[in-house]
């Protein structure tokens, strides 16, 4: 994902570099506050480690190997802002010393791999490991998923930067001046590579390292996890998500539903017979069976999500939505009540059997 010089226009490089300046400044401030005078050696070794992690060849099933970026791993081990500094420094050494990744494109590479990747990955990790103990097996799995998501977010950013070039920078006769691939080509190409192989490698390495440290070197894992309990023996019962959260998210989903109206066209396979494009299928009339069964049920309360008289279409649409949701809620509660009744009857018969045995 290291973009070399020549693929991006100098304007893009300038914008991406400028975007990284506040990120670097904030990272410097955060890191200094958290680890005081210790931060320099810790970050230096973190940067050296980040450089070396990119060098580890991870075996892929078909016999070839691929390497990971490791930015999410460093964010989990040292914190996201420390990862911004450490990965930027590693990328700097690569660009200046080993010619891997461009010097002008340094800002863009840092934005993708040293900012977006650790931040997105760490957010996923934080959300996924709430209330988990330090040694919980799920923590390693969540870390792997965070690595996968972070890498793909970074790849999406890189694909967007590359894909914007031909639309923004071309000559009068359409010759692209920098990367020649449009967004419609660069995003699928990068997504295919990163959703399959590269993402899996990142997942395997991140999850594997966290699982290893949980087994073998817990103090190192504690650097960025102060106050997280070690195991589940002293844990309280996991807090269940309240019904308010469920109601709020369902309400949000209901509010967002009309967004679908913005899409043009109709859903595939849902045309009514009179709207069918018969010509396309080389037909003269609607087939008999279709015509018969399409009008089989005439008693719908809100035909076409509307009142039958079609006078207030918007009101009808909203009313049908409310009635629909209410009907689903009633059905769900009825099923839950039924299940409850059956379970209670089952357990009471079990206890009756037990008392007879006793």
């Amino acid at each position: 994902m290291h973009i070399p010089d020549g693929y991006l226009s100098p304007e893009t490089c300038g914008v991406m570099g400028a975007a990284m300046v506040p990120a670097w400044m904030t990272a410097g401030r955060h890191v200094r506050k958290v680890v005081t005078s210790r931060y320099v050696p810790l970050l230096a070794l973190g940067a050296a480690y980040s450089f070396l992690v990119m060098m580890f060849n991870v075996p892929v099933p078909d016999g070839t190997t691929a390497h990971a970026v490791g930015a999410v791993l460093i964010a989990i081990l040292l914190g996201p802002w420390a990862a911004v500094v450490a990965v930027s420094c590693a990328l700097g050494i690569q660009a200046l010393f080993f010619g891997d990744g461009g010097v002008l494109a340094f800002g863009a590479n840092c934005f993708n791999m040293a900012f977006v990747m650790p931040m997105v990955g760490y957010a996923v990790y934080k959300i996924g490991t709430r209330n988990l103990s330090l040694t919980a097996p799920r923590r390693a799995v969540v870390a792997g998923v965070a690595g996968y998501v972070g890498l793909n977010a970074a790849a999406l950013c890189a694909a967007t930067e590359i894909g914007l070039q031909p639309s923004l920078f071309h000559t009068a006769n359409g010759t692209p001046l920098y990367s020649p691939f449009h967004l419609s080509q660069s995003i699928p190409a990068m997504a295919l590579a990163h959703l399959t192989v590269a993402g899996t490698v990142e997942l395997v390495l991140t999850a594997g390292v966290i699982a290893y440290l949980q087994r073998a070197n817990l103090p190192v894992l504690r650097i960025n996890h102060p106050g997280v309990r070690e195991d589940d023996s002293t844990a309280m019962a996991p807090r269940r998500l309240g019904w308010r959260w469920g109601a709020a998210s369902l309400g949000l989903a209901a509010l967002l539903t009309p967004v679908g109206l913005l899409a043009s066209g109709s859903a595939f396979g849902e045309d009514s017979p009179e709207h069918l494009n018969l010509h396309k299928y080389h037909l003269q009339t609607v087939p008999n069976g279709l015509a018969h069964y399409a009008g089989f049920w005439h008693h719908a309360l809100f035909n076409g999500y509307d009142f039958s008289n079609d006078r207030h279409p918007a009101l009808g649409y909203i009313a049908s939505a409310f009635v629909g949701m209410a009907a689903i809620t009633v059905v769900v509660f009825a099923v839950l009540a039924l299940v409850g009744v059956v379970r209670r009857r089952h357990s009471s018969s079990d206890s009756a059997v037990d008392s007879v045995r006793a």
């Binding site: 060849n57 450490a86 073998a216």
Partner: protein, 309 residues
């Protein structure tokens, strides 16, 4: 590469060896597995750093120029090659880099090979599809038949774009290689500091570079030990991946322990969170001349590009 100063690394040490199959029959190359690849990239890294240390110690044109001036000149030339729309200007800039390389006593064969072995593999394959009319629409110059009634082939626009990008990548990489290989790492860091990169970043990069090679030794040791323990071919991918993850985890443990030791050593030597830097050397007349030359070339390149375009 021919001058043998007493401090230079011997030639045989930085020459890559052929990867032969274990039975010793010449000419057959076994496909390297992940262990060999990692050991190979580790030794490659060390070889590269030894080689550039040697080159930066030679007495050539670019080695005599101040690192700050070189860095500023590099940025200016990179911007001019990025702004150039005409292949003529890019070819001119590339020839300039070849001239500078030979004036800096770099082997031209190495310099050309380093850039042109990399470009066809990475840039070439990436850019190749863009020459077809599917991707870059335009005037078809090499027709390749028709596809569902539309003519397909290589377009003039696609070929020009591919040529431009390959030339630009080659020129940029040549310029970067030229500057980084003729400048010793401490001077490069001092130059970055002079160009207003924050002190914390300089300190972190400098220490990271120093301990990078220390940790690289650990990686080499771990993988060499693994290779020594393996009899026959190793085909259990799942176990191999667990080994790689455990090695990376163990490496982090070592890096952290090392950072604690380094911190204690720094504190015991009086470190309180502030760093002092040595006063940087004063610029000489040759530095000013080189800087002016780089600026002149940059402006000429941009000017010529506007005329030719």
């Amino acid at each position: 590469m021919t001058d043998a100063s007493p401090t230079a690394t011997p030639d045989w040490l930085i020459r890559p060896e052929l990867g032969l199959c274990p039975c010793g029959c010449i000419g057959k190359r076994a496909k390297a597995d992940f262990v060999e690849k990692t050991i190979g990239s580790a030794s490659n890294l060390m070889r590269q750093s030894m080689f550039s240390d040697d080159v930066s110690a030679r007495d050539g044109l670019l080695q005599r120029v101040d690192a700050r001036v070189k860095l500023v000149g590099l940025l200016a030339l990179l911007v001019s090659s990025a702004l150039a729309h005409s292949p003529v200007v890019l070819i001119g800039l590339y020839s300039l880099s070849l001239g500078l390389a030979s004036a800096s006593r770099l082997s031209l064969r190495f310099f050309v090979a380093r850039v042109w072995l990399f470009i066809p593999i990475f840039t070439g394959i990436v850019v190749l599809p863009a020459t077809f009319s599917f991707i870059t629409h335009g005037h078809i110059v090499v027709p390749l038949g028709s596809w569902f009634g539309t003519r397909v082939g290589l377009t003039q626009q696609g070929l020009t774009a591919a040529g431009l990008i390959v030339l630009r990548v080659a020129t940029s990489i040549s310029l970067v290689v030229l500057v980084t290989i003729t400048t010793s790492w401490p001077r490069l860091l001092a130059a970055l500091r002079a160009l207003l990169v924050p002190r914390m970043f300089i300190l972190v990069i400098g220490m990271a570079y120093r301990y990078l090679f220390h940790l690289l030794g650990s990686v080499s040791d771990m993988f060499t030990a693994r290779k020594a323990r393996t009899v026959g071919s190793d085909a259990n991918t799942k176990r191999d991946r667990a080994f790689v993850a455990a090695s990376a985890g163990a490496l982090f443990g070592r890096a952290h322990a090392l950072s604690e030791e380094v911190h204690m050593a720094m504190v015991s030597r009086g470190y309180r969170g502030n760093v002092g830097t040595l006063a940087s050397a004063r610029l000489r007349a040759t530095d000013f001349a080189f800087g002016a030359g780089a600026l002149l070339v940059t402006l000429t390149a941009i000017g010529v590009d506007h005329v030719v375009r």
